[in-house]
Amino acid sequence: MRDTAARAVAAEPARRPERGPVIETRGLTKRYRGGQVAVDGLDLGVPDGSVFGFLGPNGSGKTTTIRMLLGLIDPTAGSVRVLGRPMPAAARAVLPHVGALIEGPAAYGFLSGRDNLLRYDRADPSADPRTRGARVDDALDRVGLAAAAGKKARAYSLGMKQRLGLAAALLRPRRLLVLDEPTNGLDPQGMREIRALVRELAAEGTTVFLSSHLLDEIEQVCTHAAVMARGRLLVQGPVADLAARARGRLAVTTPDPEHAVRILEEHGLTGLLADGDRVSADAPPGDVEPADLSAALVHGGVRVRSFGVERASLEDAFLALTGEGFDVAG
């Protein structure tokens, strides 16, 4: 399921290559009173039609960035363009085309789920009141909340509130969805449903900007990603390129580990580690054929039980970039 869907999404950007970036920031900086720099010179570019993962440890400036994209916080320096228009100056024209879930959902506890959505929709002067009821029902249906629509929001579980927040983002057809930690508070089944929904929306052509601290979530649904740490953008690009930056590991299982290490060293491999009967090394450069290494080992008398190059994960890429554990606050 995961692979086919990811590939379908990955094909998206190529479909409409003529369009400019959906989000573009230049030197975006936010310095809070007291001098603390939350975001420092951010140059972000989110391609049209991408599912863009926005990664970083807690406190790395993700939420401040998202709030600046949506015009909630004024940048100290730099500029933001969303859908090709400057923010926050063009907020009234841009935001009706943007659905957002920011730092968790928020609802009026004394109103039903449905009435909450009606209120959010009424706040948008460009939303058509004639289709309001139908759009609200569609949104509730889409996030699987139709059955609980009449219940007061204060009786909702965290997962249901999260769904309600997503429904608010889906009240109108959107060109861009900004989803801050959309699977927070959901059980595994709920996470799968939301990820499927994100893929579905992306397949319809909506660009999705998804912040998360769950690396496998980003790997599963995103075509592109950016990594932030301590207010700075470390890297951005297609997920495949990012993962490729972190070189994989060559792994050999053998009853003769010392012998194997010596032979691999002779062939110029670096980062050699021997752990019991497992020997690993940094993956060889592209011009070295792994099969030649395997032959070299066997010719050298090493008895090989298994041999292979392990693909690097986004987590490896992240560790290589930040040199720190992912959940450590920056």
């Binding site: 228009r85 959902p105 009424r122 060109r175």
Partner: protein
């Protein structure tokens, strides 16, 4: 709507659907219904409705043995002495009793919570990315608070009228000037007084709205607003501060009694309206300046 439509719309800087003037009132209606459906608002209105009942029942018990009036003079609210003789006076007595504290306190709670409560609950950010527009949202909030001023005053007046008519005879009204006017005109004056009372709360409502833009805690904003009310009420009673009294928002509040003179005496009312207008202008602008420039971090 097709994506092509959306694209052109964004490129042209025009919102996706053609705007119609009336639609922008959707947010005002939404503010009103949201305010009035909140449990807290209903409790406040319930308390306000109970005040005339208490006053009426107390007067009724006091005068039940056939004596013509309860304790009067400087001890009770104005008009209390006349209630037993004419139930309509319960409207004036109840408004005099609730105007110094109860009514403005209720307004302070609603105004103080209007922006800060949404910020604290996190709903403010979703209204703003809807996008409600900051000035538009603030205006809708203030309009809803003003509507609450009127509703709260009317709740007191209507409850007092009902209780007064139920417990006491109702008939011709003797004005403060000593002349007598018919019941119809008396009712008209009662309505006029209710509106005057509601309008005299507008300045304080603007102050509460401004306080509400300063914090992300609804409770803090409500407490601060009501605190300001009590402080100013105390200052207004200190003779040493005579010089500043004409600038304090509650100073002319009780001038609504002038509407029970014959002919009508407008001076106090006009001073009150002028003062309220100044407060609305000053604190309305301050609230606007603060709210439209504020970083929404909640």
């Amino acid at each position: 709507m097709s994506r092509a439509d959306l694209t052109t719309a964004v490129a042209d800087g025009v919102p996706g659907a053609p705007r119609r003037a009336l639609w922008t009132f959707g947010i005002l209606r939404s503010e009103l219904t949201t305010t009035l459906r909140r449990g807290r608002t209903l409790v406040l209105l319930g308390v306000l409705a109970a005040v005339p009942v208490l006053v009426g029942v107390a007067v009724r018990i006091e005068t039940g043995d056939g004596s013509s009036a309860g304790p009067d003079g400087p001890h009770g609210p104005a008009f209390l002495a006349q209630v037993a003789g004419n139930g309509l006076f319960l409207v004036f007595a109840a408004l005099s009793a609730t105007l110094p504290v109860f009514l403005p306190m209720a307004v302070g709670v609603v105004a103080g919570d209007s922006v800060a409560g949404e910020a604290g609950g996190g709903t403010l950010r979703y209204l703003l990315v809807a996008p409600a527009g900051r000035a538009r949202l603030l205006l809708a909030k203030y309009a809803a608070v003003l509507a609450f001023c009127l509703v709260a005053t009317l709740v007191v007046a209507v409850s007092a009228l009902a209780v007064g008519a139920l417990l006491f005879p109702v008939g011709e009204v003797t004005t403060i000037s000593g002349t007598r006017i018919g019941l119809g005109e008396g009712l008209l004056r009662a309505g006029l007084i209710a509106v005057a009372v509601a309008v005299s709360l507008t300045g304080f409502a603007a102050l509460g709205l401004f306080v509400s833009t300063l914090t992300n805690s609804g409770i803090a904003a409500m407490a601060a607003t009501v605190g300001v009310l009590i402080t100013v009420q105390i200052l207004d009673t200190m003779p040493q501060l005579d010089a500043i009294h004409p600038y304090l928002f509650p100073h002319y509040w009780l001038s609504f009694a002038d509407l029970l003179r014959d002919p009508l005496y407008w001076d106090g009312i006009v001073s009150d309206l002028g003062l309220q207008a100044v407060y609305v202008a000053v604190f309305g602008s301050a609230a606007w300046a603060r709210f439209t420039a504020k970083d929404i971090t909640a």
